[in-house]
């Protein structure tokens, strides 16, 4: 099976859905153009190349470049969704949600409920998350927990190219607004991806590796750091069961709870800040529903409660590392 990067997988998902369904449109900053290529449309295919080729195939009516105004992008997309299109809107950096949050959380997320189920809002918001490029505090955050906390929004956090394609197609076909969070350091990560279109259902976690000693739930890029830590730990005789929830809303509670009921030990790895986060949410879930199974305190490995530092040395300390993950697992495993 062909190996494809996350960038290619996303591009393929968009192109295949646009071919299949004429109501699918792409809207956002530079989606038809490219940074620093004045007058040259489709030169880059968005700042990260994800939409490359779409303008040439589908034209300007379906690949819509916008001014730098997130509120207009999200407002237009939410309105288009509720009136019959399936827009895939790009919020270049998720950090920018602040200027368009009314359109997302008070409009798109509420339409179905407010109109008594008579309206649907098949909107996808593709957005970039993650620290690690010294992009500083305003371009490095991972605010998926904020989207997850809003009833009416679904939230997807893919960790590999296979999941990225299947989850994006699922998101486009879903009749509710979906926030699709792409980690900016993972676009070149490759995996086997079928050429054919396929969908991965929301709320179905992926068990990345089996183990009976400690359950580790990790999101997005942290899945890979945890895998690395688990490789080290297995040599010490500690086997981690690594769970990637894939979607934070809906969340596959059953897979997490079943695993913890077997291992009795849980570590959650989340690149976001720790207060009111996914890590906290899952810790609360397990305390609530699997308390009797726990043999050790639940440990969260997260960023500190601070903005993301610009200085590379500090930023490296800020992001959970395989070493920190391994240390947390050892601690939980060794707890008598």
């Amino acid at each position: 099976m062909p190996q494809k990067s996350i960038r290619q997988a996303l591009n393929e998902a968009l192109a295949q859905e646009m071919r299949r369904d004429p109501t699918v449109v792409v809207i956002g900053e530079d989606v038809a153009g490219g940074a620093a290529t004045e007058g040259q449309r489709d030169a880059y295919g968005g700042v990260l190349g994800v939409t490359k080729g779409l303008f040439a195939e589908f034209g300007e009516a379906r690949v819509i470049d916008t001014p730098i105004t997130e509120s207009a992008i999200m407002g237009a997309a939410a309105g288009a969704a509720v009136t019959g299109l399936r827009p895939v809107a790009e919020l270049m950096f998720s950090d920018f949600f602040g200027v368009c949050f009314d359109q997302i959380f008070n409009q798109a997320a509420k339409f179905r409920y407010m109109f008594g189920g008579k309206a649907k809002t098949p909107l996808v918001i593709r957005t970039m998350i993650g620290a690690g490029r010294s992009a500083a505090a305003q371009h490095s955050q991972s605010p998926y927990h904020i989207f997850t906390s809003v009833p009416g929004l679904k939230c997807v956090v893919p960790s590999n190219a296979y999941d990225a394609k299947g989850l994006l197609i699922q998101a486009i076909r879903d009749d509710d607004p979906v926030v699709f969070c792409e980690h900016k350091l993972m676009y070149d990560l490759r995996a086997e991806v079928p050429d054919e279109p396929y969908t991965i259902p929301f709320g179905e976690a992926n068990i990345v590796r089996d183990g009976d000693d400690v359950t580790v739930v990790a999101l997005s890029r942290m899945v890979h750091y945890t895998y690395e830590a688990a490789d080290t730990l297995v040599k010490e005789g500690i086997e981690c069961e690594l769970i990637d929830p894939r979607t934070t809303s809906p969340l596959d509670e059953d897979t997490i709870l079943e695993s913890v009921e077997r291992t009795g030990r849980l570590v959650i790895v989340d690149e976001a800040t720790p207060r009111c986060s996914i890590a906290t949410d899952i810790a609360a879930l397990v305390a609530d529903k699997a308390f009797a199974a726990l043999k050790a305190p639940v440990r969260r490995v997260t960023a500190p409660h601070t903005p993301v530092p610009f200085a590379p040395v500090l930023e490296k300390l800020y992001i959970p590392s395989p070493e920190r993950i391994a240390a947390a697992v050892r601690e939980v495993h060794g707890y008598a």
Partner: protein
């Protein structure tokens, strides 16, 4: 006795295997064994299986203890007669190198991957390897499966002849449009692949629904079929496990898939997470749900088999044998037993609906012997 020193190396099961782990040794160091005896057990992320002796010999040195992980081709053990001095065994072990794929072998490995072929304007995937003078063998999988079901059988048969496995329409990497999904259409596909690959006479091996398809192909063009092996075949009686068929068509999540796939085998521990994941990845592809529903409706309406070929088995002119797992929970073994007076019927203990995977060595040998006599 010859003074030859030979190696048992890590086998390659299926297209994606790169390494395996020794689960345990079933023979002790120094022990003699006969051809076909089980030597050791190996685990991959997908499957656990035993390695059997390809000929009689003596297990002189176990190199990879239980728990060791080695790449494909890595040295597991050394075989040699008792007269061979220890020092020579030491030298052999010290000098052993995992053969790096040479340029030629790489080119060959390039060749051993599935290809697409157009049959009546439709894209079908197949996998072919092996060469020899005899008629080639064509392997036909069952409902919901694909060519990987023959991961143990195909290499064994390919040692002496051309071995081809195909993905039926609606399955694996083949086109997902199955038309009506009925027996006629699927038999056309098998016939089409045989013709497109310019195979004049073929040994057909079919599993489950693939057994019924192979039987129909043999009835249609008996002069083209040298022998017929039916493994846990459909088409030989009305009963089939309807909850398996419904459950398989419906399953979209891991939990459902684990439950349904457990019905296929005698020991549900054989169903690995990777195997479940492969099934889910297939089922998630666009068009698969519809293809399976159509095939199920055509073949198994109301939870019964619509196709009964028992009356036509006697009309087959080529040698026919049946293989069945005694504990088959999908198609009752009684369907095979009922034909025991007319045909060779091999019933394997401790096997369910997938004897060619559960008792891989035994089934491969049964097919190989039957084919070479036919």
């Amino acid at each position: 006795m010859s003074n030859a020193i030979t190696a048992i190396t890590m086998p390659k099961w299926g297209l994606t295997m790169t390494e395996g782990t020794v689960v345990g040794w079933l023979k002790q160091q120094g022990q003699d064994f006969a051809e076909g005896e089980e030597i050791l057990e190996i685990e991959t992320p997908k499957i656990t299986n035993v390695v059997e002796a390809s000929s009689a010999g003596t297990l002189r040195r176990i190199v990879a203890a239980a728990g060791t992980t080695l790449p494909v081709g890595g040295l597991l053990a050394v075989l040699a007669a008792d007269e061979v001095p220890e020092a020579e065994i030491d030298t052999f072990v010290a000098g052993f190198e995992v053969p790096e794929p040479s340029a030629g072998e790489e080119a060959e490995a390039e060749g051993v991957k599935p290809r697409d072929i157009e049959v009546a304007g439709r894209r079908l995937r197949y996998l072919e390897f092996g060469q020899g003078d005899g008629a080639p063998v064509l392997l036909v999988h069952g409902f919901g499966a694909d060519l990987n079901t023959w991961m143990f059988t195909q290499p064994a048969l390919a040692a002496t002849r051309r071995a081809v496995a195909l993905d039926l329409p609606g399955h694996g990497g083949s086109v997902k449009d199955v038309g009506a999904g009925n027996a006629e259409g699927l038999t056309d596909a098998v016939e089409g692949v045989r013709e497109a690959l310019c195979i004049e006479r073929v040994h057909l091996v079919g599993h489950s629904m693939g057994g019924a398809i192979a039987t129909l192909a043999a009835l249609r063009r008996p002069e083209r079929v040298a022998s017929l092996t039916l493994v846990a075949s459909a088409g030989l009686g009305p009963e089939i496990n309807a909850s398996f068929i419904d459950g398989f068509v419906r399953a979209s999540r891991r939990r459902e898939a684990v439950e349904v796939l457990g019905l296929l085998v005698d020991d549900p521990a054989l169903v690995s997470r990777a195997m479940v994941e492969d099934v889910l990845r297939y089922k998630r592809l666009d068009g698969v749900a519809l293809a399976l529903a159509k095939i199920a409706a055509a073949w198994f309406p109301g939870g019964r088999q619509s196709l009964d070929l028992t009356g036509r088995i006697g009309a087959l002119t080529m040698p026919v044998q049946l293989v069945w797992g005694r504990n088959d929970r999908i198609i009752p073994v009684a369907h095979g037993e009922a034909l025991a007076a007319h045909l060779p019927v091999h019933i394997l203990d401790a096997a369910g609906h997938l004897p060619h995977m559960e008792k891989a060595g035994e089934v491969s040998r049964l097919i190989e012997r039957f084919i070479s006599l036919s």
